[in-house]
């Protein structure tokens, strides 16, 4: 039988080749959507940028100029005196050596804490994601539960533990505390990342005869730069900005920079030197800021990689 339906050819229905719209649809620069979108972005940017602007401007002014009261005005006479004073001469309680010594304290705390916590947590996450040993789920549950216990609860017990170990008031004690407290979130981060990598890759490596460390170092580690970047950023900023543990577990000689900053700002002898306070604050914040600027792109990629399977 022959099909009696006829199918119209394209040219029969569409004859109009000229005049009608053709090619990409034109976009208006000042559409309502664009005004709203960029307006919002602009406002948020200003909201975040203004405090930074005030800090930078104030830190570059002399005290007489500050007393005029206009905090938004740019400095008439730029001076770097407050920065030098904050770094080398500002008084934190009794000694007046500025932030310099404490800066190095913070470096000595941050670097070993970051390295140690990331090494341990990445191996933890790898073992939890790939090897599924007996009790792995229980171990993981306990670890995650640990992340929800308020720090204040553990402050005093840890003081006692460090005292018994002879590490109280010492930098190494604080390094241990930071490493332990970084564990839950970092382990979760690494576990999820390794779990998102194809399982067959791990199986293939086992068939190829690679062991626990062989797979970790030669197969997984080279694929994990984004997540290590995320971990480094989280840890550097977290530990550098920490105040509570720093003030509790170290002594006046080994205070981290944040504690010293607090002391500078809170020390009142005569007039409050706003410009020095601002300079000191910016100096303290410089390390996390640099980290963000340098690794921003990798950071975003790593967060995305950890979140989406693929």
């Amino acid at each position: 039988m022959v099909d009696d339906r006829t199918i119209p050819a394209a040219s029969q229905t569409v004859n109009d080749f000229d005049g009608g719209p053709r090619g990409p649809k034109p976009q208006r620069a000042f559409s309502r959507k664009n005004v709203f979108l960029y307006g919002t972005l602009l406002m948020v940017t200003i909201y975040y940028a203004i405090p930074l602007y005030v800090m930078i401007v104030t830190s570059l002014k002399g005290l007489p100029e500050i007393r005029l009261g206009n905090i938004f005005a740019p400095p008439v006479e730029i001076t770097f005196e407050p920065w030098v004073k904050a770094w080398a001469e500002a008084c934190t309680g009794l000694n007046c050596n500025g932030l310099s010594g404490y800066f190095w304290n913070s470096v000595k705390i941050t670097i070993p804490s970051v390295i140690l916590s990331i090494i341990i947590a990445s191996v933890n996450g790898y073992a939890l994601a790939n090897w599924r040993f007996k009790g792995a789920n229980l171990f993981f549950a306990i670890l995650i539960f640990g992340a929800f216990i308020p720090y204040q609860v553990m402050l005093y017990p840890i003081v006692i533990m460090l005292r018994e170990l002879g590490l109280y008031g010492d930098l190494s004690g604080l390094v241990i505390v930071h490493t332990i407290f970084g564990m839950p979130i970092l382990t979760l981060l690494f576990r999820n990342y390794f779990a998102s990598l194809p399982e067959e890759l791990f199986k293939a490596a086992r068939v190829d005869g690679a062991g626990f460390w062989g797979i970790y170092f030669r197969v997984l580690l080279p694929m994990s730069l984004p997540i290590f970047t995320v971990a480094v950023i989280l840890q550097v900023t977290g530990i550098w900005n920490d105040f509570l543990f720093g003030v509790v577990y170290t002594g006046p000689e080994s205070y981290p920079m944040t504690v010293a900053l607090n002391n500078i700002v809170n020390t009142t002898q005569g007039v409050t030197e706003y410009n020095v306070n601002m300079a000191a604050t910016i100096i303290t914040a410089l390390v996390p800021l640099t980290i963000y600027f340098v690794s921003g792109k990798l950071f975003v990629r790593g967060i995305a990689a950890g979140a989406v399977k693929g």
């Binding site: 067959e200 199986k203 293939a204 086992r206 068939v207 005869g209 062989g214 197969v219 080279p222």
Partner: protein, 361 residues
């Protein structure tokens, strides 16, 4: 035939879930065995057990006569090819091929020689310095096969290796795997849910369901004499047509709502003929139409409900009363919806399954 892999009383459970149940299997030296089943039937799990990637709950696994139940995957003399290729992305093709050999402690010259040989066999010599990201799907899978090849293993395990490839490439690579098997004569176990892959590649097919092997036989045997209704439905597309009825007169006739068919010529299995309720199954390609139908022992009148031209042949869905049947006819025949159609078949080509046990009679 000496056996290459022997599986004895294999059981595997995850908690309370039994995935593999008391499974026994003998695979001959140089045999190409396909594990076929729908997803969740335990076929990949079985393969992972043989590879040593999963610990078994009970039972034993022998490869080349050696009990490997507690051995590491790398010590079992197996190579495995995965669905997602599972190539190490940061290594070149050469690095991928040499990874296993380095772990096994081979000398540099030995490694180079083996890579050279495998690359020639698989025609991937120009790709050796590239990274997997710069390869096409087919090339990647070839490298993955190469990774098993360089290790000079006794047994190749394939876990749905072609499922990620497009249709054309799949056909090509399927033929290549068959070719490779002919050349190497290694034992190969191949997991798939694609019945065409199973039929074309296998020396024997093991059809699995719920952690058990339902039938283990040659592709022809499985197609012609499926052991159960499930197997009959699983193999063949469109699947077998069934009449729901009753066997009578000591296996001489089958009565159903479409009429009473003589079973003269039907070969009953070992159990012999049994009267009682049953399914009679006939494949779409074993139903004749038109003048040819007139020569068949069983003849029926049907009307055409729906036509699907495939080019080489045409699938026709016909109605007998309100029973639907698929019929496969020549691609050149002219059939239209609503036509009356004579159909017929030979009971020798049919399969009868007991209604309760669903096994072939």
């Amino acid at each position: 035939m000496e056996s290459s892999i022997t599986i004895r009383d294999l059981e595997l459970s995850f908690g309370a879930v039994e995935v593999l149940k008391n499974l026994n299997l003998d695979i001959g030296q140089g045999e190409f065995l396909v594990l076929l089943g729908s997803s969740g039937c335990g076929k990949s799990t079985l393969l992972n057990c043989i590879a040593g990637l999963l610990d078994v709950t009970d039972g034993q696994i022998f490869i080349q006569g050696r009990n490997v139940t507690w051995e590491e995957p790398s010590d079992r003399g197996i190579g495995m090819v995965f669905q997602s290729y599972a190539l190490y992305p940061q290594m070149t093709v050469e690095g991928n091929l040499s990874f296993g050999l380095k772990n096994a402690g081979f000398s540099k010259s030995e490694i180079a020689e083996r890579i050279d040989r495998a690359a020639k066999v698989l025609q991937i010599e120009p790709l050796l310095k590239r990274k997997p990201g710069a390869l096409s799907g087919g090339q990647r899978q070839r490298v993955a096969i190469g990774r098993a090849l360089v290790r000079d293993v006794d047994v190749f395990l394939f876990d749905e290796p072609l499922s990620n490839l497009d249709a054309k490439l799949r056909t090509d690579l399927r033929a290549e795997i068959k070719e490779l098997h002919k050349r190497l004569r290694n034992t190969m176990i191949y997991v798939t849910h694609d019945q065409i892959e199973a039929m074309t590649l296998a020396d024997r097919i093991a059809i699995m369901r719920d952690g058990k092997i339902l039938q283990l036989a040659s592709p022809k045997e499985i197609y012609n004499r499926p052991a159960s209704k499930y197997v009959a439905e699983f193999i063949g597309s469109p699947s077998m047509n069934f009449f729901d009825g009753k066997i009578g007169e000591n296996g001489q006739s089958f009565a159903c709502d479409a009429g009473t068919f003589s079973l003269n010529g039907y070969q009953f299995g070992e159990g012999g003929a049994q009267d009682g309720t049953a399914w009679l199954g006939i494949r779409p390609e074993h139903i004749a139409v038109g003048t040819e139908a007139k020569t068949m022992p069983i003849q029926l009148e049907a009307s055409v409900q729906h036509v699907e031209p495939l080019g080489s042949d045409t699938l026709v869905r016909v109605l007998i009363g309100d029973r639907r049947l698929w019929v496969r006819i020549d691609g050149q025949s002219e059939v239209a919806d609503g036509d009356a159609l004579n159909i017929g078949f030979d009971p020798a080509m049919a399969n009868i399954f007991d209604k309760t046990s669903e096994t072939r009679l």
